[in-house]
């Protein structure tokens, strides 16, 4: 079986690239989830 990556450098480039994309997702997703989580608290205050 052919390995996907012959070099550690190739593997790291791939993996870190994917992780940077996921990080962008996390940076957007986590605050949004917090907004959802705490959404009612906020609303109550305005009523």
């Amino acid at each position: 079986m052919e390995p996907d990556f012959y070099t550690l450098q190739g593997f790291m480039t791939h993996v870190k690239g994917v992780i940077y994309v996921l990080m962008a997702g996390g940076l957007v997703g986590i605050p949004l989830f917090w907004k959802f989580l705490a959404g009612r608290d906020e609303k109550k205050r305005t009523y």
């Binding site: 012959y6 070099t7 450098q9 480039t13 605050p31």
Partner: protein, 384 residues
Amino acid sequence: MGISRRKFLGWMGAAAGAAAASMKPKAAAAAAAKSFPGHPDSLGVLHDTTRCIGCRKCEAACNEVNNLPKPEAPFDDLSVLERRRRTHAGSYTVVNKFSVPGKKDPVFVKRQCNHCLEPACASACFVQAFKKSEKGPVVYNEKVCVGCRYCMVACPFYVPAYEYDKALTPRVTKCTMCAPRIAEGKLPGCVAACPKEALTFGPRKKLLEYARARIAKHPDRYVGHIYGEREMGGTSWLYLSGVDFGHIGMDTGIGDLPAAAYTAGPLAAVPLVVGLWPVLLTGIWAISKRKEKRASDELSAALAANTAAHEQKKREELSALRQKLSKEKEAAVERAVKQALEEAEKEREQAAAEAGKEGGRQHEPAARQGGAEKGEAEQADKEN
């Protein structure tokens, strides 16, 4: 960070023992460990320093095939060997002379890019200007290079150089292992020019076997180590020497880990910080907010309670005052009535006294009193 790092070091261990791992059955694939055997059939050069005579023909050939600028001293001037040199923007390779204690002949060593299997420059470059090609050479792409020179900081062999005198288009320069010539099926310039076969070009795996065979055949001539077999994860250029590599300007303390192993820990921590810091910080914020809210709630509750108590007290005071006032009012009315009556009585008495002075005949000014007087008068009449 710890776990990833350990896992990472595990991969490194696996990579170092790639030969052993490749013999094991595929069951190992199920494990987390990964191994990176390097590109198969990748090429390299074996430099046997015991054969080098320091003629600088390789330098001249390198200069020619790469169209480099004319050197300060011509290539047949061997006096330059007296000082220690390194690669520069205009020279991709240099030969240095070493006097080794206990040896009468000097040792010559050619220096150039070692074309690491896991290049530090490639790991360090933030625009991927360096790539380990499948054929073996580590190639540089000047089209994306920003000129930050981090590759030069990273390289453990002090190889990449920089065109410091170029104002707007400086490049990083280093040996290309003559990648364009290799692609044409030719030998690298230096290898082709070497008159003593101190340089051997071929597949790295073959070169290793060849080097081991040479050491086995002449154990008296060589130290039992192939420099570059494992150093910094292994290099495509390999070296044989008759003396300790430390004596001929090679760094023997750089270890076997590739450069990427040293940065893996902090790199692995990055996504954790990105994901967990917001969670932690939002938590701290929420707690401090809650505390603040509770404090302000308590404050306003205390304030409200205080106000209520105050109002209650006021109300009580007021009603007490009102009661007091109404009592006083009644008392005042009574007093006033009483006073009025008393005054009236006094007047009457006064009037009666005046009437008595004038004579008894005066008639009644007030009925009741008059009655009494009448009785008195009648009594007085009867007596008369």
